[in-house]
Symmetry: C2
Subunit: 150 residues, 2 copies
């Protein structure tokens, strides 16, 4: 699979694009860490929401069940009604499915919707809103730039 560098300026343009697609009012944003952190940061500023949270996941191989995902550090959402969950890419969809399951069970009164920059057609779940289909391996600037020497 070929690689495509995804720089800050493209990310910024895509995040603006995403805000045009999201026709929904929400009162909190949850970033799936790490990938969704920068996106959640900009969206929090754009929508002027201080309620920007994160959630963590670990994928692991299990002899019984391959590609399991464990979710931890869910935020407190007692006072929330509508929450946008964001990630950089919905790839297999395993992470998003499990995050929605855990949060939905913990907070049945909350409506959750999802947004990402990239979405792979082969994923088992589609986000409510996304900007681009991923047809290559995306080299995100937050991974690449900080490791570059100069």
């Amino acid at each position: 699979m070929h690689k495509v560098y995804y720089g800050y300026e493209t990310f910024l343009a895509d995040t603006k694009q995403l805000t045009k697609k999201i026709e929904w009012e929400f009162d909190a944003i949850i970033a799936i860490a790490r990938g969704g952190l920068s996106l959640a940061h900009l969206l929090g500023e754009y929508y002027d929401l201080r309620a920007v949270y994160s959630i963590n996941t670990i994928g692991y191989d299990d002899t019984q069940k391959l590609d399991s995902v464990k979710v931890f550090n869910p935020p407190q959402l007692q006072d929330a009604r509508s929450v946008l969950i964001v990630d950089d890419i919905v790839d297999s969809g395993d992470t998003l499915v499990e995050v929605l399951k855990v949060l939905g069970e913990a907070y049945p009164h909350v409506t959750f919707k999802t947004a990402s920059l990239f979405y792979k057609k082969s994923a088992k779940i589609a986000p409510n809103w996304y900007v681009k289909e991923a047809e290559a391996w995306i080299e995100f600037f937050w991974v690449e730039d900080i490791k570059r020497k100069t």
Copy 2:
């Protein structure tokens, strides 16, 4: 107070600078949301740490005690030993003092250290590591860029 725009490229260079200053090994990073989210994202990638968490604060005026800060959504740190807390700027220091207090009481077995991009000399607490002294009002790119029309 004059304003200084703080763009992505400067942020990237400063974050690299910060990694050169931090001579300490840690097993988790906590971003103080929202300001610390992008910094924590890059640092998590740089140190190859999946344990990148966030914590939330609200500042409020109280008739009894001005400039109170309430801390919520602390991450689970049972398995952590050394944790780096990051924020974009240590301004009054109120937020950092309160975050350290809450986390220190909840996790007395953990060593917490702190890092920020900017630090104001008048703050009541200095981070362990910082890159620049703030002598102007910093217009961070994550605030400015996403709101710009074009």
